[in-house]
Symmetry: C2
Subunit: 433 residues, 2 copies
């Protein structure tokens, strides 16, 4: 059955489509932190952040059904739901971030955010961290350096700043924040001197495509100062970092003690439903409206907004931010414990419910484990009923990023499975760890 | 209540948001071709093509609820729904258009289509018709010439071809198709000679932003030949034209007897749910996959696909293509009748369930009626319970584009209401018609 589906898929979908795992799985049902394949096999989902409040959450389904049965239209008629959602998000964001645009995907959000920054600053250049990922529109794909292929030229209007990687970067000790922020400044000065100027620094404070980085605490505030000195805006791409993912705070940028000029939201916002947003200050929003127009047919429709409101309600009512802290600590302790028993773990990145387990061939040289070996471990985990992914410039980081409803027992199960997979790997590779 | 909501909205949403009608309406419920405001007033919806199979269609809601209760995830696991949808659309499209990408909005679809064309042809230039609209991403906004503000420069990589307007364009008689297709060729030659080359001609065969144009029957086939001679691809933007909107055929391009290289789908595809697609030939899809990668988190998720499948089922089972022909003929005859009794109607554009009633101050000079007067008529129609819109470069075209389930009785009601509004307009303006 699955084989037949695979053949039909290869025929009907463009070859750009890829599947996870050495043996792709056919998932037919999801509930909470569990996914089930066509044979009824249960998987513990340690990967999917989009299903933020858990798969098929009844309150999300209820909101979707209720509003879709009642009305689904656009923002050219008055409707309370888009206003309710904007107000709820603005309270969560605080400060002056109180003027909202609704779109359908994180890519649309980042595309619009860059366009706003360009209009408002009158500059064209955008700074991003190396190996960043921000989305798939033609504009944002160029800014997603993790998608570069060998030989691809970085356009003149993009300033590349080294990612703040204190494990593998050019600066790993004290003063790393100053060093990496200085690289943002250098990228900005190059843009200024070449005449394009600095419109924005677009930054994901999880550095997801780098496998999650724990940047120096002072990095973003120093970088933001440099960017603003050059006349640019700071865009916090909270598509990965937002919605309690990193624990302690609702937003990733809060952990670095900055207030961005523009914030973009996506993936977890609708627990799978395509809804995303750009939120900025009234001043920036007004300045943009004077220079350019924007309308998004599906953006801010009542169904999407009611779903997004249900997701916020669930996070609040089920106290999922606290859950991220509690279960995140279990994962942190457990991963640290694993790193003491498995030499192939080079380091652990992450916080909250977003972790990167970086695998190496040699701890001293930090030589990355080969992609095929890491894929083998991740596929073995899948065979054993635990879904994870890989990430990072060297594809050597196991990504653990479960739904926010992940429990302590789920964390223990995931850690035990990872331990087993690493033990099997060591056995099959001559116990080389 | 509505006043309070308006104030909250102005505070919480960016000022880019606009509302329809002189007195904005608060719509709270929809069913079939009817919308209802907060006071219970019923409106006949003659505007919304997104709610293609009617507002809150029970089969669409059922598909949404069923799949959202079961599973909503992404295309990196196998799932039958994305394959089923691709296969259904490929049968509807026929020929070699059999390799699908799924995205969330028409803008994302057009953005990806242009990117594919650029990669596959190795050229950068794109030809569009003047006053075209194709979406809101940074790339596609530039190609949406209807969004230009005074003084905005058209980028060097865009070739502008005059829209095939046989009422108001530079060629209104015999041979107009040859003439307008020649303008596409001239735009392409300019792109070739300037060194950017021709990647694509992106065309909406309803010319929606022009208020719907009935182009000469040979226009697109001649234009397509010119574009291909210059090494470019033809992208049919079926976001407006597709899904039976224009009657007789499922797709707008079929009426012009061409087979595009790439087709983009959007708005009506999910009856309000954000789902869209790019469909091309296996050869083009393969060539793109060799040059570039693409992944869209929400694109092709099971919920969106099941909704899109339900929409196709409803169109087929309720024989809505036939309905478009039957009710479209009623609208055509009625609008022609109105144009005989109201001198302010300059011409009627359109077919199927998409009509543009172009209003003029003078039939001889074709002087467009002022935007404020046309808005006044459309707002008067709204006051009388009939929702329409305005369109066209001069904002003087009343747009009538109801859900596909519009009945003959609905058409009669709409025509009667339009007659009444035009009579009232004549009375208030000294019976100047």
């Amino acid at each position: 059955m699955t084989d037949d589906l695979l053949g039909r898929r290869q025929s009907a979908l463009a070859p750009s489509y890829e599947l996870f795992y050495d043996d792709p799985i056919e998932i037919v049902r999801g509930k909470g932190v569990h996914l089930y394949d066509a044979n009824g096999k249960e998987y513990l989902d340690c990967y999917n952040n989009v299903a933020s409040v858990g798969h098929s959450h009844p309150r999300v389904v209820e909101a979707l059904t209720r509003q879709a049965s009642t009305l689904n239209t656009h923002t050219r008629y008055l409707h309370h739901s888009v206003v309710d959602l904007a107000e709820r998000l603005e309270v969560k964001l605080g400060g002056d971030l109180s003027s909202a645009f609704f779109v359908c995907t994180g890519s649309e959000a980042n595309d619009l955010a860059v366009r706003i920054a360009r209009n408002v600053t009158g500059h064209n250049g955008v700074i991003v961290n190396d190996h960043s990922y921000h989305g798939n529109s033609t504009l944002i794909d160029q800014l997603s350096l993790s998608h570069r292929r060998p030989g691809d030229r970085v356009p003149d209007w993009i300033g590349v700043a080294e990612a703040p990687n204190t494990y593998r970067g050019t600066h790993t000790g004290g003063g790393a924040g100053v060093h990496y922020a200085g690289d943002v400044r250098r990228a900005g000065i190059r843009l200024r001197d070449s005449g394009v100027g600095v419109a924005a620094f677009l930054v994901d404070s999880t550095w997801d495509a780098n496998g999650f980085l724990n940047a120096p605490k002072d990095y973003l505030s120093l970088a933001a100062r440099h960017v603003r000195d050059l006349g640019g805006l700071v865009i916090a791409d909270e598509v990965q970092a937002g919605y309690c993912r990193t624990g302690e705070t609702w937003w990733g940028f809060e952990d670095y003690d900055i207030v961005p000029d523009i914030v973009t939201l996506g993936k977890p916002m609708g627990a799978g439903h395509p809804v995303a947003a750009v939120i900025t200050t009234p001043e920036i929003a007004r300045s943009f409206a004077e220079a350019d127009s924007y309308f998004n047919t599906f953006g801010g429709n009542p169904v999407s907004c009611e779903v997004a409101l249900a997701v916020i309600d669930v996070i609040d009512d089920e106290q999922l931010l606290d859950n991220v802290d509690i279960v995140g600590a279990v994962l942190r302790d457990g991963l640290e414990q694993l790193s003491r028993t498995h030499d192939i773990i080079g380091t652990i990145h992450g916080k909250g419910l977003f972790w990167g387990v970086e695998l190496v061939g040699d701890r001293e040289t930090k030589e990355p484990m080969s992609e095929s070996r890491v894929n083998g471990i991740v596929s073995d985990l899948c065979d054993h009923g635990v879904l994870t992914g890989t990430n990072g410039p060297h594809h050597n980081i196991i990504k653990i990023r479960p739904p926010l409803v992940f429990s302590e027992a789920d964390a223990s199960q995931a850690l035990e499975a990872l331990d087993g997979a690493l033990v099997r790997f060591a056995q099959e590779n001559g116990n080389c760890s």
